[in-house]
Amino acid sequence: MPKLIKNGRLVDDSAEILVLDESQAPEALSLPAGPVFVPMAVWQAHKSAFSGRSDVGVWLDSHDNVEDLAPDLEDLSAVALNFPKFTDGRAYSAAALLRSRYGFKGEIRAIGDVLRDQFFFMQRCGFDAIQPKTGKYSDAQLEESLASLKDFSAPYQAAVDQPEPLFRRAQRAT
């Protein structure tokens, strides 16, 4: 089963990430049973049908606006943010906005080109679930990669995981 880093620990996870190909109209889609993340367009088209299903999350691509999802966040238990390439940093802002502006308490999952050397930043921006592509890392490497979550022990600036900057958290001597 695919692995997921959830709150700093490795867990099994079977959620499907539903990707529409260009020929598929979101309205015409038959909805999968079982845990799934659907793209924004599918969510918009089937919102009412999903109501009551706690195993349905929405995934946003890096060019999607989190603002568009804001009205629905109350009905969602999980949002996934895609990194089309690990160098596309928009999802960091999206996660930070979901947490700090919209107060989203559910799962925020990093999907796509997710690499261990960015885990620390993801965690700081409010991702509590991190899912490298299946096959990217062996189980042993994944286990080892958890260390990256602890790369720095006392960062300078405020972020989601640490809402106060160092200068407010610590008594720093002159």
Binding site: R90, A96, L115, D117, F120, P155, F167, R172
Partner: protein, 560 residues
């Protein structure tokens, strides 16, 4: 200067460990080239023509003597015995091997240095006035603000993968020596009518392929809000800056596309959420950081030292150096000394390990143990007693660090260019050296007076050619190296971008071209007029005529 506390030290130590592990995984094949690339870049490590190039951060250009000695050791141990001062006040090594870089970083960490965010699509080293804290025209010291912003931007989790690099500069003096109009964010310290400190904020300036002068986005942001304000700018940029085209990814393109008014609206809408939040600066933090930038223990001295006056009278060579390389200081009896790294026999900005050792020694003996790096690629001793200037000069001269050319034609800015840089279209160092060799007569140089000549080996403009009074840009024509010349650029309060004068030249023509330009100036200038002022007054035509001749100019006019 700022000294690390245990928090700062731990962050840098943890960085060394992190990068050591990343390098190990890369060398073991666990990280691909593509995955390792941004990681090494955010540690200042480029893969260049000959070897990796390592860029080390010198936050806003300040160095302690211990740091200078460590740089000397690195130059000796891991490089070919020299270091290079960059146009962003940093230090570069051209020859380290990848596998020793973690070791170099560990050495740097012992003297509170690092290579964090000296490259890559992140917030880069904050730059400032090299004469901060001592310049006679300074009204507010920019250094505490630079340090506060350095800490905020170091490993900022949201802004580690921006569309493109992001540069911030801070100025607090009447004359802008930090080129704030050519930065992604330019901050000008000021006081409002009530005497409160804050910042005029410019955004979207930059050089590169599309040079643009920054525009004002806010006339006064109170100091408490400067982090939240910058954060709002960065968030809008991170979300909406273009990522589809490397050449259109800088914030200046976003600002131009939206218009500064709309960009400001978006920033301030975002700012409304962050303003007043935890990132609001506190008086305590400002006091803590500013406490590191206290004035040194100056002696009370007469404003003109008698021995300095008589030494100048007795020794013309010393007088010549003092006239160019010694600058007025806020403190009576003290002076600012520029140690020129523009010896025509070396690449501009290069300094050997032995010279670095000497600079450290001079700093300890005569300048409170501190050294500064300037974006014009020189070093500065900022607090020298006038009575010590002669001793400093003698020692610096013996080491080749007293070329009396500060601000003159041969004190040019020059990027590493095709000799080292993989991105270059053309070499820049040989052009610089050829021009320096042509203008080797000091009297002639003094007669020409203040002038800035800047050379870049490609459109990335690391040599700031757009803002050189004379700008030289390496271009590629069918695989050959050519040089395009522009005139009329300037940095400082009247920042302007140079205009290209016409067809480009082969390397061998360049000294003649510069001679012709200088001759036109000498023929055209009015009494007391500096080169740039003449160019502004006359326009480019006389210079085109001087360089290309009558025929070329009339022909162009007819075609126009």
């Amino acid at each position: 200067m700022y000294r690390y506390d245990p928090y700062d030290q731990r962050i840098v130590d943890e960085r060394v460990a992190q990068f050591r592990d990343q390098t190990r995984r890369y060398l073991a094949g666990e990280l691909t080239d593509e995955e390792f690339r941004p990681l090494r870049l955010q540690n200042g490590l480029y893969i260049q023509r000959h070897a990796p190039m390592l860029r080390i951060a010198v936050p806003y250009g300040l160095l302690s003597s211990a740091q200078v000695r460590e740089l000397a050791r690195i130059a000796r141990t891991y490089d070919k015995g020299y270091a290079h001062i960059t146009t962003r006040q940093n230090v570069q090594f051209n020859w380290p091997e990848l596998k020793v870089v973690p070791e170099i970083l560990a050495g740097l960490a012992t003297v509170q240095m690092h290579a964090i965010q000296t490259s890559g699509a992140c917030i880069r080293n904050i730059t400032s006035d090299p004469f901060a804290g001592v310049a006679a025209d300074e009204y507010l010291d920019p250094r505490p603000w630079c340090e506060i912003l350095r800490q905020w931007s170091t490993f900022h989790p949201e802004f580690a993968f921006l569309p493109r690099k992001f540069k911030i500069a801070v100025n607090g003096a009447a004359e802008d020596r930090a080129v704030i109009q050519c930065h992604d964010i330019g901050l000008e310290l000021k006081r409002d009518a009530a005497g409160e400190i804050g910042f005029r904020v410019l955004v979207g300036g930059g050089m590169g392929r599309t040079p643009i002068i920054g525009e004002e986005i806010n006339a006064f942001v109170p100091w408490q809000d400067i982090i939240t304000y910058c954060e709002a700018i960065l968030r809008v940029y991170n979300r909406y800056g273009r990522r589809d085209n490397l050449y259109k990814a800088r914030i200046k393109i976003l600002v131009k596309a939206l218009g500064v008014a709309e960009f400001k609206r978006q920033v301030e809408e975002e700012w409304a959420f962050g303003k007043g939040g935890p990132n609001t600066l506190t008086e305590a933090e400002l006091t803590r950081v500013a406490g590191h930038f206290t004035t040194p223990a100056y002696e009370t001295l007469p404003s003109d030292d008698a021995s300095y006056v008589s030494q100048r009278a007795a020794n013309p060579a010393f007088a010549a150096w003092a006239r160019r390389n010694v600058i007025a200081h806020q403190q009576p009896g003290y002076a600012v000394v520029v140690l020129s790294l523009k010896d025509p026999k070396r690449a501009p900005g290069d300094i050997t390990d032995a010279q670095l050792e000497l600079v450290a020694e001079l700093a300890d003996a005569y300048s409170f143990g501190e050294v500064r790096a300037t974006h014009e690629q020189n070093l500065v001793l900022a607090d020298v007693k006038q009575s010590d200037l002669f001793a400093v000069w003698e020692k610096a001269r013996a080491a080749g660090l007293a070329t009396p050319n500060f601000g003159l034609l041969t004190d040019l800015i020059c990027c590493p260019g095709g000799d080292f840089c993989a991105l270059a279209n053309a070499k820049s160092i040989p052009i610089a050296n050829a021009i320096q060799a042509r203008f080797d007569d000091l009297d002639h140089l003094y007669d020409i007076g203040d002038i800035e000549l800047n050379i870049s080996g490609c459109m990335n403009s690391c040599g700031h050619h757009h803002v050189g009074h004379i700008g030289i840009l390496g271009v590629d024509k069918n695989g050959e190296e050519w040089y395009q010349v522009s005139l009329g650029g300037s940095q400082g309060n009247q920042t302007s971008l140079g205009k290209v004068i016409g067809r480009s030249f082969a390397a061998a023509e360049m000294p003649d071209v510069i001679s012709k330009i200088i001759d036109v100036y000498l023929g055209q200038r009015q009494p007391g007029e500096r080169f740039i002022e003449t160019v502004r007054r006359t326009g480019l035509d006389p210079f085109k005529l001087g360089v290309y001749g009558e025929a070329a100019v009339t022909e162009r006019k007819q075609n126009a």
